[in-house]
Symmetry: C2
Subunit: 79 residues, 2 copies
């Protein structure tokens, strides 16, 4: 079975780190290839996150869905 | 290893169903015991959700963390 690619976008904020620890602990590694992207440092990934519908971080994009996990920072604050 | 208990709270809304499909597909079944609770019908579970810090649905409570996934409905709207 091909794994599903998932991207977890964050910005290093406390809310982001809490969500990241849950995501990295509990997502199924046998079905998910997880990439973690820090949008505060990797600003070149902002357009891609926006295109996926990410409005704030932390957010997880997986299988065509964009899930905002709590609220750390608006994407516009990272530009 | 003991599995971690997780509860996914929802209210049958479209945003809830989208989040549920991601959660149930991608959480690791070898580490997580997932319970799905519909707060619109199981109103007796509202106090427990509130106590866990759930402010809106859909939300996932896992390992002591409460993650709100996007926004479907405020908990107060379900009472």
């Amino acid at each position: 079975m091909n794994k599903t690619s998932a991207v977890f976008y964050h910005a290093g904020c406390p809310v982001c780190l809490d969500a990241e620890s849950a995501i990295t602990r509990y997502l199924d590694p046998t079905t998910i290839n997880l990439e973690v992207v820090h949008l505060g440092t990797a600003k070149n990934r902002l357009p891609e996150a926006e295109a996926a519908g990410v409005k704030s971080v932390p957010a997880l994009v997986v299988g065509g869905q964009t899930l905002h996990l709590n609220f750390g920072a608006a994407l516009s604050a990272l530009k």
